[in-house]
Symmetry: D2
Subunit: 440 residues, 4 copies
């Protein structure tokens, strides 16, 4: 299943969510639990120190652990068992205090939060890179005319910078949300049924949260919204990045040819067609975007968990949340690859603007004629002229001239750069918003 570990994913993040890293974060929880409980006088300081010394993933026999998961149904039970044994080998006394009063879910959920924390830090940096790439593209192509397309049909001119600004705009919001996610990461500590117990009280919870850099919060063993919420935030970002890939893959079509993924050596080749330049980065992103929505659905489906802790729904979260993150990371790294080497073919953009022989300027003509004729008659007249132009394979301007219509500023009416509306003003609006957000 890992044949495509470098194509759909990003190795750095794969490792963050690999089994070693997961167990490391679980052990970090156990260490801080001991520290807090020693602080509160529930165990000798020395015991806590020893437990801390033992909380190293290299001491763990991972294969043994994996086979024992079958018996208890989660990774915490065999991990605690091994940890206790390791501690016991050095001090029987200290081994009494391992995992004191905590429940499996306390360890596992908190470790998940710590992994999320690592991911969000990585992610924020990558998002800044992507946004900067888009800012650069927008500045360069602020006035580069191209045709705008709706329902896959040529519609009216825009500038390529407007397109990249719209891409940027979607990411600004995701960046903000990702930043806010940091504040939602919270410790899990409730004991068996979320009520605390002798060794698990609000002070212990507060201390662990502080030590791990997480929010303190009442136990949430079966209140799972926070995870689905964070997952949704990532998925929204993923789908907006896929919108960029969708656009680029469409603009890369042979017949359109306006942009192109960078041509790394050997990249995008076909096993049988040496001339091709396939949109391989777009393809990976679009594949990820096809999978992501359903993974989110699964997260939401796991939410109505039974009673104080669930039989099955909690367990369904584990791998699905990881998959959401590693797919998202793959999309993000592929997006950087895609945008950093993007080739823009302005000449082809100009060529395509002429393909309809003036039809894309029809709205201009309608507006111009509306002043004298009214909108509806103007629209009907232009609609007929368009049909005639298509039928006779003539330029719309020529058809209109043949009909002796008086078109003021007819040159401007059929000029791409003069027809991009308020493209640059919208670009400025978005770039200002970017400046404000990045300076926060």
């Amino acid at each position: 299943m890992s044949l495509y570990s470098q194509y759909f994913y990003c190795e750095t993040v794969n490792q963050m969510f690999g089994e070693e890293q997961t167990l490391s974060e679980m052990l970090r929880f156990e260490a801080e639990l001991a520290n807090a409980q020693a602080e509160a006088g529930f165990m000798p300081k020395e015991a806590a120190e020893l437990i801390n010394d033992c909380c190293l993933v290299q001491y763990i026999d991972i294969n043994k652990l994996k086979s024992e998961i079958n018996l208890g149904g989660n990774a915490a039970i065999p991990l605690v068992k091994q940890l206790t044994k390791i501690v016991k080998n050095r001090s029987v006394e200290a081994s009494k205090y391992v995992h004191l009063g905590a429940t499996s879910q306390d360890v596992i959920d908190t470790a998940t939060m710590l992994q999320l924390k690592n991911y969000l830090i990585w992610l924020q940096e990558q998002m800044q890179i992507i946004m900067q790439l888009l800012v650069d593209l927008t500045n360069i192509h602020r006035n580069t005319p191209m045709v705008g397309r709706t329902l896959l049909q040529q519609a009216k001119p825009i500038t390529f910078g407007l397109k990249t600004a719209h891409w940027l705009h979607s990411l600004l919001n995701h960046y903000l949300q990702i930043t806010h996610c940091q504040d939602k990461l919270c410790v899990q500590l409730g004991g068996a049924v979320g009520s605390g117990n002798l060794y698990i009280n609000n002070t212990i919870r507060y201390q662990i949260a502080k030590a791990l850099g997480l929010k303190n919060c009442p136990p949430w063993h079966t209140n799972r919204a926070v995870l689905s919420e964070i997952a949704s935030t990532l998925a929204l970002c993923n789908q907006s990045l896929a919108k960029i890939a969708k656009d680029i893959s469409l603009l890369m079509q042979t017949e359109i040819g306006e942009v192109c993924e960078s041509a790394a050596i050997g990249k995008g080749g076909s096993s049988t067609m040496p001339h091709k330049r396939n949109p391989v980065a777009c393809t990976a992103i679009l594949a990820n975007a096809t999978r992501m929505p359903q993974l989110i659905a699964t997260m939401f489906a796991t939410m109505p968990q039974e009673n104080e802790r669930s039989a099955g729904l909690w367990h369904a979260e584990w791998e699905v949340l990881s998959q959401i993150i590693v797919l998202h990371a793959g999309t993000v790294s592929k997006a950087i690859e895609l945008l950093s080497g993007l080739e823009v073919n302005q000449k082809q953009m100009l060529y395509n603007l002429e393909q309809t022989k003036g039809l894309i300027y029809a709205e201009n003509v309608v507006f111009s004629l509306s002043k004298s004729l009214g909108k509806i008659p103007a629209q009907e007249l232009v609609e007929k002229a368009c049909k005639l132009a298509i039928l006779q394979e003539k330029h719309l301007k020529d058809i209109l001239l043949e009909q002796h219509l008086i078109l003021p500023d007819s040159e401007l009416l059929f000029d791409a750069s003069a027809s991009v509306g308020y493209s640059t003003s919208i670009i400025d609006e978005i770039l200002s918003e970017y400046e404000v957000i990045l300076k926060r």
Copy 2:
């Protein structure tokens, strides 16, 4: 398909998203567009006034409109056509200015935002009702002991108030998020390709946003995250409400019988079993929660929209977003019904606490014995004692006594109220958070 319009849904909200209301909001956009354009000097004030007068849904032939949607692929095209005709019947001059420079998506997306606005207002009130019901239940049952259950097994005592407080806690966050959603509702105005045009500029956009009480924002024709984000917020709330229904349906089981939906006359009966009291409100909520996650997936799947406006993905949003809302509204209203009449059987809770003959106090005993024996030996000893108790069908306390174990405070060890941990302290933590949020 509407046979169950009152069971899974809420009539009030069904109407908010019915065809009349949808067209009304679209007409409101057209009216405000005219106002803003008149203000900007793009049309005579009189024309704008006349257009406003004509923007009434009762003037629209809805059946005709529906059949014409087949031709153009959306509701705006035939609506604008009818509106123009209505205006033209009163003034040919004014009819020139209808829908000036706007695109179908401008009307439809803005109308959607206006419907969402109405819904969020309704929703906030209902959420306050639900939270108040939970606060009341929590206060009443703060100290009502019951058994906590994990993986569908009896685990340890909690109080019923702790359970309802956890329910409340999940909703606090949703309430906050729903409140924030109000600020995300934004106008759509970009013209054909999202670049604006002669009659569609930033001023016009600003004016319309202001008039409609929406946020001003650059065009987002193919940046759809905001809708998926709002939909996710509603869905998260829906699934947390379903967690409540899940718990109640489990607690209502004949063999558990700790709580019960209110017994309205004729409610919950079976066509063949006169004695039954079915969890009919829970059932509706759980059904809705089974459907909701996949609807969210569809919203996310629609996000990578092509170019300046999409062929199919935008269209897939329309009904799905409505379904999410009307299902959510159904869940919300059923939750009120469910919680306002909830019967709590404290006697049965006490009875169930005794069903395991002391086994649920095993952790207490482990903690108590750990002090002298260490945690692992204590745990092993108690595990054996538990098995013996099950085998011999005796009370755990008696088994332990037979083994001549010295259990300090053995009465307290087997007392439910003394075994609820920090239930009340967690309740207070959640209730304070509630106070803070409600006072904002």
Copy 3:
């Protein structure tokens, strides 16, 4: 929600699954239940006859029924209540025998099967129409050369008939499966807990199945696979039809322009761009295809139903199954509209074959050179030549000639019709399969 009832859907099928028709089918079950029970001597023949006379939907107060669903949680309870009253008004004696021993789910599930039966009959006819349209297109365009595209890039020539034959091929399998679905439609009759009772035995079940033209089968109150299976069959068909719409929408792009949806008057127009011809039928189909997969997921999610009858999962099926069917019907009717008026622009196909200046014939050249050079060197050589051709904007043939390469049959190497491989042989293979299937 019904604004788009004619766009995404098909009115004929909307009605088949409307509330009146649903209740009618439920009443049909009640009538046949009475008949079978009279036959078995469980009630007087006269009582059964009277019940049959009363089983007419026009006697039912639907609004009352809908509001009472809230109490019992399904449509059967209030329907049986009303029916009993109607019968009682004519004979107190006969009213004792209404719905004798049956459970709500028996009525509702059987009525669903009857609705499915109606749908499958309609569907088979429509599928035959679509397949015939594709056979005709395939025959006409058997030898029409066009470029084949992979990963949205021009790859190598095919014939348009090969494309339509591949479309046909996918539908052949769906047609077969739809035909098999008829044999899976089965009666539901088990009484309260699926064990039968005094009045519900295997003979009664057999008789009702026979009378309703359904398969006899043990009760399946919580064995729901049959519905998910039928739903999947429809969804698979839906997605294959969407593949056709996807292709057509791509081929309709302004820059490609090889096919076009029929231009009904007013169809495909834009509210602001009079020249456009939007792919409105494709758009509806693609929208439906975006929604369908998640509806199937919901069906599968409802399957692990609790005990003898479920609280929520069964209920989640009702509307979702209907939605799957009515969306599918919409797709099917739009596909007929799409294919019956499809315009094919052979001239543009030829034009597009020349757009890469010979690059799409690279594989031909590789094959030709492989004989002398070996495949890898040939591939590398051609890859370089392609890059040069792109760089120098020359035809690949000219680049190769400049390199003094000896290309035997160089005319054929760059001829579209000579490069379509075994297109016609594959077409014949598929058409024969069609003949075999249709003659069954």
Copy 4:
């Protein structure tokens, strides 16, 4: 991500779909392609033999291959590159013929089919084991009375054998479908655009299909229904197995206690509650069933693939199809574990039958009284009696006696074994069907 590789999954099947096995099957395709082409005279026999000798996964540098996937976007391109080099090291001449005329998708899709083939063989055996376990349980508990439950409420008696027979019944159909899947596995061979070419014709395709034991079939590069269909078949089976796990997890609840997962040493324990016996096998199955529906949705979502080969949708299939299979395999192996050690507590079943103090016999009483009173009055009378019984905490029989009602056969009316309806007759019906299917 693989921490839970033994809990949710089955190691045997994990390996079947691991990277080595995937590459092995791809190499098998390359070998048979060479054989068929040598047979057809397209290459010397010696070349084909050499290629066959080189098609061993141990010759492949998998890490190199994985990193090169990034460039070409699939595993076939770097595999063919490595294979060609390996062959070339032994014969430059032979290396010309590697992968002759085939496209990446031909290799990858065919390899997938071969993996599916292996899986279906494994699966059929496991399904036979599960069905036999259910047959045994059904025979043993044919007459074991227990209460049937609907909407989580006690309803009426059934036998436990009826429940297990219903479980068996669902699997019979899945077993048949899985058997049919074997016939759907087909070769993929179409060359770059699915039209064949010089070296890829119908004879070559027929030969490879024959050699690999797959169906011969026209190219299906963008006709993906067959994979979604097989995936659906597995998912349906998965969800039916989850229905069994759902039932067992509910019956295992402390307060119900009618069945129990086997108590392997250390199994089902909790880290803090030594007395618990958690439903760990059920939990894994239910977790898998929560994930499966959405994976199927993704398969369906990938179906409308563009043109002759897709950019992204095909790629989205790869890992998702594998995940469906390995999750399914996990469910299947957990189901065997679950059913082979299932403990059935008949005593507790009898105890639970008495919990409602006769209320579950209400239908019996209604039927009995209906004869004299008519169904509706009987139902109303019994409904009142039930309420009184609940209110006064008396047995329904006593309430009825107090009301001086004449109940013929009152002993039988309140006897569980006499109230199981046609349970045994339905059991026989299902067991006969099993016999017929297994003997095919």
